[in-house]
């Protein structure tokens, strides 16, 4: 079984897709590390891959650790380095 995860894009990632989202396919019970690899493969731009290294995945509830499982339901976002205010 595999699952499709739609990763919402924010900040500098927005320029890499018109939909503000990129879909990736993951095995069931994938971790955030798996998600990060699949997402990197889906990116076509070296700058985007560099940005990914400094970015965090998050649900609508919290920023995820690399060891966390990717939740089966709920929205996933990729958050580049932040600079509010």
């Amino acid at each position: 079984m595999s699952q499709q995860v739609e990763v919402r894009l924010f900040g500098a990632f927005r320029q890499y897709s018109r939909d503000a989202a990129i879909a990736v396919t993951l095995p069931e019970s994938a971790t955030v590390t798996n998600l990060r690899e699949a997402f990197a493969d889906a990116l076509e731009d070296d700058n985007a891959r560099a940005l990914l290294k400094a970015s965090a995945f998050a649900t609508d509830e919290a920023v995820l650790d690399e060891d966390d499982s990717v939740p089966e339901h709920g929205r996933i976002s990729i958050l580049p380095p932040v600079c509010g205010g």
């Binding site: 919402r8 924010f10 927005r14 965090a56 995820l64 580049p80 600079c83 509010g84």
Partner: protein, 146 residues
Amino acid sequence: MSTHVKTTDQPLSAEAALEFCSAPGHGAADLFIGRVRDLNQGREVEGVSYDLHSVLCERVFAEICAEAREEWGEPLHIWLEHRHGRLGVGEASVIAAVSSPHRDESFRACRYLIEQMKHRAPIWKQEHYVDGDSEWVQGHALCQHG
């Protein structure tokens, strides 16, 4: 004690923040406004587009406010709003305000809100320069928190 956090694409109101941050027992209120500057690192800025993850942002705001209350006292009234969308020079991007019985708590808590917001809230800004160029401003990497 009450807390107000919000993200909005509408203009921010300092007046609303100060009205919220008041109480008969509160002798002090401190309010901070962050505004769009016309210059950043030597480049002339015409405007800034703020992008934010609204749900997560308001959650982080609420956490930060709870921490401030824990540190500086239950009775605090706390306000934290951040705007998104495109703003011109001089427009307010963020307003933080705190009221408290005495002034030390208001100053410290208000400062805490801003510093933590800058480091932890999922907000990004794209500067639009007078020369027509645009750039996403480099920020702080987010770590898991709390």
